[in-house]
């Protein structure tokens, strides 16, 4: 066994990292659905899932079991191979794009081998992400076509045309960041945003020295919402429009795969937005000794969350909640105590800030879904081609002018 | 190491020739216009592979650069060609190559 590890260290270590990341990603996906339902419900002045487990925390499990046990028909006359291929393609591509994202600066030691906190640290990491996004159009188009029915075909064609159009804006809006960072490597892009202006303002790309990438961020985030087919750009899959768009004829597990693919792309795009524009795993506070107290922010946050859960759990209605919630609270509090140890504290800084920013973007995604109305399809395409694409090209021109002017 | 890259280059070059031949066979054999067009793309891809392999063999980057131009030209050709195919389908109501032979003797 150790012989196998010694001969192919990179392979075994990568497999371990993939297993861990898959576990974390799939659990996060499941609880992202819970998060979305709760937040949208509270925006709409209601409670959301509350009965299945304390505060509805077992709702994803219930949904998963439902999807497993439902009947899984295929429509008559559907092209079997493509019908089964489409959701599989969508989900596998969405999960693969998580492989190039770096979660923290420090290297960890797995099975005696030092390795960075990303599955693959590629020199063309950003390009690989865009390549996977480009291939993601096929999941939607093939799903719509293979269902052998009017509404899915129309929904699939519209949805894939929308995705292809907004892909242009997505890639163009990132070019400003690339010009500032000088590399496609995601880790190097984050490292080029280290440091701070005037010791207070962090040097993230959105406040960057030569040209703040505000237009770039705006175009990128809007294009990303359109890419992932979320409100306000989800005409192709909305319930009141084309029945359910390209996934009308899909039931149970295949529908769940499309659902998971959408949330996985949401997570990927939020990670990209933090890496490219908001400094990835860099803390917003400076690195000098005066800001040393910020190293204990993870501890404080986890401790407060743990205490709140314990207090809320003790007052909860059901017996199950009275047992589970305080237990979760104690786990969080124990983690908070664990983070005070110096070694763990150093290690946890990067991933903590990264995950905090990603959660903020996911919250913004869900917030937009609960608040904004839908775009009509022609308005959607007009915005994509006539507003966002020229804006992102203008961003490229202005950024390069600013770099030439202010960096020489 | 050099032997390994030598093997890769030779293998890629032979694979490129095989793919080109398969593209020619598809071009001659298939009756649907769109499939015939796709076989042209297959031939272009085979040529791209040969370019990259020889660029690696020479140690220069000109071959890879030429792949860019081939991809761009293929994109432009695909756009215009598919527009023409849509017009043909509209006018002849068929996608069979044999129905589009009014220029033949």
């Amino acid at each position: 066994m150790s012989n196998l590890i010694a001969q192919h260290p990179i392979l075994i270590v990568s497999l371990v990292k993939i297993a861990v990341l898959m576990f974390i990603a799939l659990t996060t996906l499941a609880y992202l659905t819970w998060f979305e339902r709760k937040v949208v419900a509270h925006i709409q002045s209601r409670w959301g899932p509350y009965r299945t487990g304390p505060h509805g925390l077992l709702q994803p499990l219930a949904d998963g079991l439902k999807f497993l046990f439902k009947e899984d028909p295929a429509p008559a006359g559907a092209d079997r191979f493509v019908y089964f291929l489409a959701p599989f393609l969508a989900l596998s591509l969405a999960l693969t794009s998580l492989a190039v994202i770096p979660f923290g600066p420090k290297e960890i030691v797995i099975l005696g081998h030092k390795t960075p906190l990303a599955i693959a640290d590629l020199n063309i990491g950003l390009l690989v992400l865009f390549a996977i996004t480009s291939l993601g159009v096929y999941g939607v188009a093939l799903a719509g076509w293979s269902s052998n029915s009017k509404y899915p075909l129309l929904g699939g064609l519209r949805s894939s045309a929308q995705m292809v159009s907004y892909e242009l804006t997505l890639t163009m809006s990132v070019v400003g960041v690339l010009l500032l960072a000088g590399s496609f490597n995601l880790r190097e892009i984050i490292e080029s945003q280290a440091g701070a202006h005037w010791w207070i303002f962090p040097r993230w790309n959105i406040f960057a020295g030569s040209f703040p990438q505000v237009i770039g961020f705006f175009c990128f985030f809007t294009a990303a919402i359109a890419e992932t087919n979320r409100l306000p750009f989800d005409l192709a899959e909305a319930e009141s429009e084309l029945v359910a768009g390209f996934h009308t004829e899909y039931a149970s597990f295949k529908f769940a795969m499309f659902f998971m693919a959408e949330y996985a792309s949401m997570i990927t795009v939020s990670c990209l937005a933090t890496i490219l524009f908001f400094g990835g795993w860099l803390s917003p506070f400076g690195q000098s000794n005066a800001w040393g107290w910020t190293h204990f922010l993870p501890t404080v946050l986890f401790g407060l969350a743990g205490l709140y859960l314990i207090w809320d759990g003790i007052r909860y209605e059901t017996v199950f909640g009275k047992v589970v919630l305080p237990f979760l609270g104690i786990v969080l509090f124990a983690l908070a105590v664990l983070f005070t140890f110096p070694g763990v504290n150093d290690f946890v800084q990067g991933p903590f800030w990264f995950l905090l920013k990603v959660l903020t973007f996911l919250f913004i995604y869900v917030w937009l879904r609960g608040t904004l109305p839908r775009f009509r399809y022609d308005q959607l395409m007009a915005v994509g081609w006539k507003l966002l694409l020229p804006l992102s090209i203008a961003n490229v021109v202005l950024t390069s002018l600013a770099i030439v002017r202010f960096s020489r | 190491m050099a032997a390994q890259s030598q093997f890769l280059i030779t293998g890629s070059v032979i694979l490129s020739a095989l793919l080109f031949g398969l593209g020619v066979v598809a071009f001659v054999f298939k009756r649907n216009i769109i499939t015939v067009f796709m076989s042209i793309e297959l031939m272009l891809n085979a040529v791209n592979l040969a370019f990259v392999a020889f660029s690696r063999a020479w140690g220069k980057l000109d071959g890879q650069l030429f792949v860019f131009f081939v991809i761009v030209v293929a994109a432009a050709e695909a756009a215009v060609g598919l527009a023409i195919i849509i017009l043909i389908a509209r006018n002849r109501q068929s996608l069979n190559v044999e129905r589009v032979d009014s220029l033949k003797l």
């Binding site: 092209d79 188009a141 | 390994q4 890769l8 030779t10 070059v13 398969l22 649907n32 990259v52 690696r56």
Partner: protein, 168 residues
């Protein structure tokens, strides 16, 4: 049988399988899917040969844009299963042996020129090409073809727009 050699054989088998499937499948959408498989396999081969930027561009442009266009057109025109006509049978009878002959000729001459290059002692390139070197080459030595291709794309856009308009 080291790692890269195994990966090369796997990718080559995938590419050849995709190309054969392009010929053998009756429905255009299956042929399109096979061609996408070929393109992704070729992108993997470019990575093996040290051309990382070209591999990414191949997947983004060829696999993610051009083939999407093909799939759209197949869906819009509702292309059905191909028929086997007399002409295609004759083409197969005569064309297949000739195609085989052409392929063997190509393989021979291409391998021959490659071995001649080897004998002449031209050194194979070592590490992966960096994007910076490609960019320098593109924007200094090849800037004129670059501008010409942008012009070509503009012409293609206008042509496609005009050709695909509705009769008015």
């Amino acid at each position: 049988m080291t790692g890269p050699v195994i990966v090369f054989f796997a990718l080559a088998a995938l590419a050849l399988g995709g190309a054969v499937s392009l010929i053998l499948r009756r429905h255009p959408i299956h042929s399109a899917l096979s061609l996408i498989v070929v393109m992704v396999a070729l992108a993997g081969l470019y990575l093996l040969l040290g051309a990382e930027f070209v591999a990414a561009v191949q997947v983004i442009v060829y696999g993610g844009a051009i083939m999407v266009l093909f799939v759209f057109v197949i869906m819009l025109l509702n292309a059905g299963i191909e028929e086997r006509t007399n002409l295609s049978r004759m083409a197969g009878l005569v064309g297949l042996p000739l195609g085989f002959f052409l392929t063997m000729q190509l393989v021979y001459w291409v391998a021959h020129s490659e071995s001649q290059m080897n004998a002449a002692g031209i050194a194979a390139g070592g590490s992966a090409a960096s994007t910076r070197d490609l960019a320098v080459l593109l924007f200094r030595d090849f800037v004129f073809p670059f501008e010409l291709t942008s012009f070509l794309i503009l012409i293609a856009i206008i042509a496609a727009l005009v050709l695909a308009q509705k009769e008015s």
